[in-house]
Symmetry: C2
Subunit: 356 residues, 2 copies
């Protein structure tokens, strides 16, 4: 069968021919519909993140997939079910995080990630997965099912952020998303339903398709060239929740100060080393005297995938259409990995869904 | 009646004669037993924190009090009840934080603090307080009741830290207290009951009374001159919880890295401005990839005072005796404000408790 992978050191995605997998006990065989492309894929291709399975010299890409159950193989699934696979798989040997259904909390080195590190991904005509790691999606959401994984990342971050504020009556009204990439925009659309006022910070100038999306959601675009994060409280307001999806290492530290009293910052970016100056005394004092919180969040669990399916269903068709730049077939898959200022979200299509 | 206060600009505590207060409706009159002295009192005396009530040129000190109800004044209290007052009082006009019984979450400027900012404290022979802000203490704990307020500070910080970890099955085993002042040692004694392994960091050399206390609790003393915070994971272990009670502005940033995966830092210090370099990229990445959390915490509410009464009752008499350096009568009150390396915790005694 056909797959899209990257050979060690090649720094380029390529079409490969690999054997069609056979499901083991407890696993189902899934026919792939669509698989999204995100920044992590670009890092994996560049070789700056992740790696091939042990003993192999290539990695099948893709961790944002949606597919149709082809062979339930004695699991509780049924042929024709639309499903989304979770990403992390257990290491060899027992692991308490996987036993607790909290693979997202496993420390580095205690997991594989399909399509990212140590396990082949979902960019193939078929994949197998334990049925327990396949989350059902209503058939009418099949076309956008590849967005469930990124949405689940936000579900987890928000769950942890809200938990951090659960010891008192938190009444947030405003939220700021740092970053107008596809994850930032998906998050903004979710926040529009949950907060009275939302803001999204980016560094693009008009005209720009992401600014159009932000404004059509009813949110306010903040151009960081005009209003950097530290000035947001004065120019707009101090947000109750700040969601960082830029990977810009100064943002979390600037955000601690920009937060409203009792506010929380959810950090999601994964920057490289960068040493810079901060007024650590002021940050420390501000954190304490105003009861602020910061949570870091990575990955997501089955429950958060299920919440993401609900959230996906609540997003408007118009928003989803504007978010997706292109859906590319295998004959033009390379275009899905192009990344310029006009690209918001691409996906590769492996097959089409037809309701039975 | 006699009171201990500080006149504006005097930078020194003095014995004063002020009128005995009359309780208003809803208030009780309390005869003061003992009032503890802490770092905040020293800052208030020095004029670097807090301030006198509006229109007055002095502030009665003291926010860590225990007393006996002298006149219940038609409240639900009874004469002879041993009580501890909370610290924050509402500003003029309605305030949602006070209405929710969460004055500890009120932003700066939306509260007075008795003995600290805008309201006279408890270092007087008598004080009045709304009955709703007086927390009952079992008579057998009267002698150490002045420790309820500092313990409540830790109850709140731990409540918020645990809340931040409540979205998953957190199974902490180890805790590190940064700071071996009286709050650090009280917290360490509480942590000894809750964690399998505890550590306390200070910068004192042996022989030192706080090191003796730390070791008699069964905890491990870490001398920061030998093992600074960033080296603790290698030399000891990466703690699941770090509690910062030093006010040293580099500690929170060092602690984020020193934490175990999924760990939480509770920050309580209130440093002045201090600009320094951090590897913000590494910190940001570490926070995210290991799902870490940071919470800032200040003050405490009635529920946390009640939890503190429970905790006080669980601490051993031997520990409490070793913690309290001196109890000084009004004739020698100045000694209670002496602060050198042999002082752990002082209190001023205004009257003695006799069981009815």
């Amino acid at each position: 069968m056909k797959a899209i992978g990257v050979r060690d050191g090649a720094e380029q995605a390529e079409l490969m021919e690999i054997p069609k997998p056979d499901p083991e006990a407890g696993e189902a065989l899934v026919r792939t519909l669509r698989v999204g492309v995100d920044g992590t894929d670009h890092e994996v291709i560049a070789g700056s993140h992740g790696g091939s399975p042990e003993g192999e010299d290539f990695l099948v890409l893709g961790h944002e997939a949606v597919g149709v159950v082809e062979d339930p193989n004695d699991t509780d699934l049924e042929a024709g079910d639309v499903v989304v696979p979770t990403v992390r798989r257990p290491p060899n040997g027992p692991n308490r995080y996987f036993e607790n259904d909290e693979p997202d909390m496993a420390p580095e080195g205690q997991y594989y990630e399909r399509g990212i590190v140590g396990a082949h991904g979902f960019m193939a005509e078929y994949f197998t997965s334990p049925a327990s790691k396949l989350v059902a999606v209503p058939p009418e959401l099949a076309a956008y099912g590849f967005l469930v994984e990124p949405i689940s990342i936000t579900e987890k971050a928000v769950e942890h952020a809200e938990a951090s504020r659960s010891a008192f009556e938190w009444a947030p009204e405003s939220a700021l998303v740092l970053g107008n990439g596809s994850l930032g925009l998906l998050t903004l659309a979710m926040f529009e339903q949950r907060f009275e006022r939302t803001y999204c910070l980016g560094r693009r100038e008009r005209p720009d398709p992401t600014i159009d999306i932000i404004e059509s959601l009813g949110s306010t675009y903040i151009n960081s060239n005009d209003t950097p994060v530290p000035e947001i409280p004065d120019v707009y307001e101090a947000p109750d929740l700040i969601y960082e999806a830029t990977g810009y290492a100064k943002h979390p530290f600037e955000a601690i100060e920009a937060l409203a009293p009792n506010g929380v910052l959810a950090a999601l970016g994964v920057p490289g080393d960068w040493t810079f100056e901060i007024n650590g005394g002021r940050l420390h004092r501000e954190l304490v005297l105003h009861n602020k919180a910061v949570i870091g969040s990575v990955n997501s669990n089955v429950g958060q995938f299920e919440a993401a399916v609900e959230s996906l269903g609540s997003l408007s068709e118009g928003f989803l259409e504007s978010l997706v730049t292109g859906i590319y077939g295998l004959d033009e898959f390379a275009a899905a990995f192009d990344d310029d200022d006009t690209t918001i979200k691409n996906a590769v299509q492996f097959s089409t869904y037809e309701k039975r």
